[in-house]
Symmetry: D3
Subunit: 241 residues, 6 copies
């Protein structure tokens, strides 16, 4: 089985973090292809960045048509519905995957994300996927995405934020709100004594489960069928058919 | 006052329909600038089309920075949150505007849209904006977007669909689910004897109201502040700052 | 176009405030008729006051049958559904209008109202109109309605309450919870650096938009059709038909 | 113990029906005072009628200050919140009471009411009291309120409507949607083989339970404290203090 | 009329408390049979305890088939749906009953329960029965169930917790979250000046109301019909048919 | 890795079906221990059966303390919260697992279960886990649990029911509502051309994902900590500690 893990931003360092997190939970017989988006923002920290990350995500999928599953490794799950229309295998976002695997581990979870301005998007996803009962709070550590790796205090700051979120919300589980935090999940979990869910690992696990069942995005209702062919013009003319 | 009405698809004929609908409700002292998206799909009929219409919408806004309000004239409200971060005046989507003006006209409304595969997106918007109580049904007439104008039976088919929706849902109001239907609102309303809301007209009215109050998108919580500057690479490098 | 703005309480001073707020946003070609309720309480600060303000609201509408829109200028929207059955043009409440125009300006709004005991009614309206996601908090400044004008510290107290609400709720927008605050919206907005929505201005804007579209309350489902004629007895016998 | 059952419309025949239904479930030591509203509509079949029934309800309560509980015997629960502010004992509406006692008898209930135009109000009450999960459908038999008694086919028509509602909704229980149906609950229940809840009987039962516990409307949060004294003018000047 | 009040735990002292609370509100012509569960945990303080209390509850019902109503006197309402399938009369849980009688006494209530770990179960019941709007907070006093009686400071600690809950939540009513607190409802209510609802008294009142109406659990949809007969094996073989 | 799959009813034939379904998706390095409950009903088709299946489920877990995950293979997820308190590894129910893996495959799913009387329980679980948006309908094929294997027409009847559910609900995915249907998922999926999710396979996949991440039930909030030790009496005395 081969899973394609797409970093929707264009920073290769972050792709490396994501790749390691994905491989750490993959079974020996599962191959991980980690891809950096070919176009768009260096990091995703606004609705603007996220919207403009989507063409790169869709390009990455069409560039690798043979995978058995696709994981969009940005916590805004950018382009997820569009990706499902064009991918030949199941597609998950890491927020989605994290919520699905965090929910059965306790009564409720807290999300700890990067910048406060991204809290709204996380809230929208929680509501869209159906986890309003389980999500007890969303907190920002105010470290920008690309500083997660370079800041020597990231682990410490995040651990503190996770511990405080757990107490403030009375929650059972932490969900990390950025793919760039993926490699810290176990460390923080050990320190705070509670499950810490990283969406990259969760996504690999859920895609493996779906693939083992032979399940893929349905086209039954037509919503996720292949898009009708039509001309595109201008900068994005290459996306037309 | 000048309002910029953006057609998120790249078909100039549809921009003409939208422009007429906008002007028909604008006050004499309100100027309407109708713009066709510079890049993307000829029509928006899938999540893929919609996602790839967003760069063109954002380009159109940055190409016309001085308007007093921006209206995204596609019923999927593509790129609305991103547009709010970069526009210097209020931004509305036509689905959003139509829901806000349909709600006070009765107990509930029915949406009549183009293709069945777009019903899911409409349902997501209804939920996101808070109209689950008022939206009593979403129906498709199965006319593709670009055939709305060319099909000689469009008015007849739509009128029938609207009348049936009203009865099936026990609703009071019809919301038209595509900017390409904008010029038919009054005709259908007269035929079925119930209010028929077109989002283009609704959006012009709401933007006029917001502008009269001097209201614009808030930056108080930070979510809709200008995006942090950062490099973009590849095809979309022009969107970076 | 002529809009009838009804002050549901019987204090003429407050009608003057409301009238000024309405005129400040109306287009030159829009005439505002401001009316004081002919019967009922001097101010509306309880469910009892509000219920007993409704006959006066309905009387005011039947006394001015030719307007192109009616605005109920009390934040409890008293008698709104009944008014819709008997008015020959669209009817809005100022809470309703304020919510509809506040929603598109950010992620969420806070309401700042007069007495704490009216918070429950505001909460009911938020839920009824569908703004539970967007309304992040309801706060009272504990100034009685009729002291809003006479108290020399009103602007200061309200500004403080609005600023605190914005921070406590993490909201983007303030909605003022009493028609008697209408003339303070711009002042407070300038001071706190965030949109402050007064329902009187919002209502005039939305009614103008509805009138421009030729839209009026639907009778399609029958709920808002004219009431069946029937005898009334006692004090209210004049309301029968 | 003495309970005051108020018929919010001004038809004495209907008060007699209500009175019999109340007495049929009252314990021997419970006295029922059945009161006809002193002013307002002969029957309540619109939002207009309901709003204008409220002054009479409030008058009836102030005319009989010594009861141990008050029941508002119209399915729209007119003036309930206002009544709670001024009554010296618990107040219930019959829709409210019916829902509370229907819920524990099965998974869900169907409401069968009089005219279709009143369905919206019932729906609002279901949502307000919290029974959206349990209320599986609301149906109209299209018999006007005052014809319930005179129409020789009422029992037959209602029985048919209740049976059909049970099947269509897959529900377990019927709630009768008008006080004028109160005397038919047992007959219909026997015929359709399912519990049929009349709000008048339910209200008497719940008020008896509350009175036995010594419970009354709380003034703790202040929302339901006595209204602040203030002048009223015009027709309703007698309601001021 | 005879009501069977079942203590789902196996501590006779607590049955005595429950019995007194039930009798204190029962009419003279209502007989209370108070029963201690024949098997299971000495107190119910976890999901494990609660699940294992259910066989005893079901046994107690089948041991006393002739009552006119059954009350499950543990705040987790253990085995309620199962009990409804096998009892020949209405069945209520005390959480359910308390919520139904607390709701009409104000805008919202707070629950004060024993151990923090039981808060989640209370939250699930609030949601299941439909009281999410009315339940404004759930608080634990951290006294284990069986210490409620022996701890000399119980009344004082609980009173303090109730008073704080009222203030923190802005609520109107307190619901006591354990049958073992039943005899303290009036004392605490007097001290805090707000209604304090004990589910045992509430349940007796509601069952009396249902019995007076001749209402019992419906079998109309089939969900609560008698279970299909089938063999049981092992320890629980006696429960088969 | 070793997963313990518990059949909560006491029919060994059904355990065999479950075991095969579990093994069909397990990786070569994953061992499946399939266990039949030691006590309780031969099949679970009512709330009564389900409640009385729980002691056997809890016994099975305590009889096999060393597994890396536990799956409760009955669609009512009997005893799930209790099991989480006592198991030393993650626990899932098959309804829960099926919902989590069905959701990302399309807009909505339909459940096809055995008897109509179990629909209510499925509906409760859908709501509890947060899938009200995604679950578009619940349908019964009216084959009793233990006839699923013996009835020669099961595959045909179920296929028809699934196809009809897909059309009636406009859904994308089918969730099979009984562990006894586990071996038919692929056959039906092939016939109807849409994903068919069996909770046994889904549960094995999700438990594998959780185990790979080293995640287990949280004790952070205390709700799912080990139950407090206490005496149990009577038939269930063995469950005390």
């Amino acid at each position: 089985m081969r899973l394609c893990v797409i970093n929707p931003n264009t920073s290769g360092e972050m792709t490396a973090v994501i790749s390691r997190a994905a491989r750490s939970v993959a079974r020996p017989d599962t191959e991980i292809t980690a891809v950096t988006s070919p176009t768009g923002p260096a990091s995703i920290e606004s609705h603007y960045d996220e919207a403009l990350a989507v063409p790169g995500v869709l390009q990455a999928i069409s560039d690798d048509p043979g995978a058995h599953g696709y994981l969009l490794a940005c916590f805004g799950d950018p382009g997820l519905d569009a990706a499902r229309e064009v991918a030949g295998a199941p597609v998950l976002g890491i927020a989605e995957a994290a919520f699905h695997l965090a929910a059965p581990l306790g009564r409720g979870f807290s999300i700890v994300t990067t910048l406060g301005r991204t809290v709204g998007r996380a809230e929208d996803l929680v509501r869209h996927y159906g986890f309003t009962r389980q999500c007890l709070g969303i907190h920002a550590c105010e470290i920008p995405v690309l500083e997660l790796e370079s800041n020597p205090h990231t682990a410490e700051i995040l651990t503190k934020a996770c511990r405080e979120a757990l107490l403030a919300d009375g929650s059972d589980v932490i969900v990390l709100g950025c793919a760039g935090m993926a490699d810290l999940a176990r460390t923080i979990g050990d320190r705070i004594g509670a499950p810490v869910i990283d969406g990259v690992a969760a996504g690999v696990g859920m895609l493996s489960a779906l693939a083992a069942m032979g399940a893929r995005t349905s086209t039954a209702s037509g919503e996720f069928a292949a898009p009708r062919p039509k001309p595109y013009i201008g900068l994005l003319r290459g996306f037309g058919t």
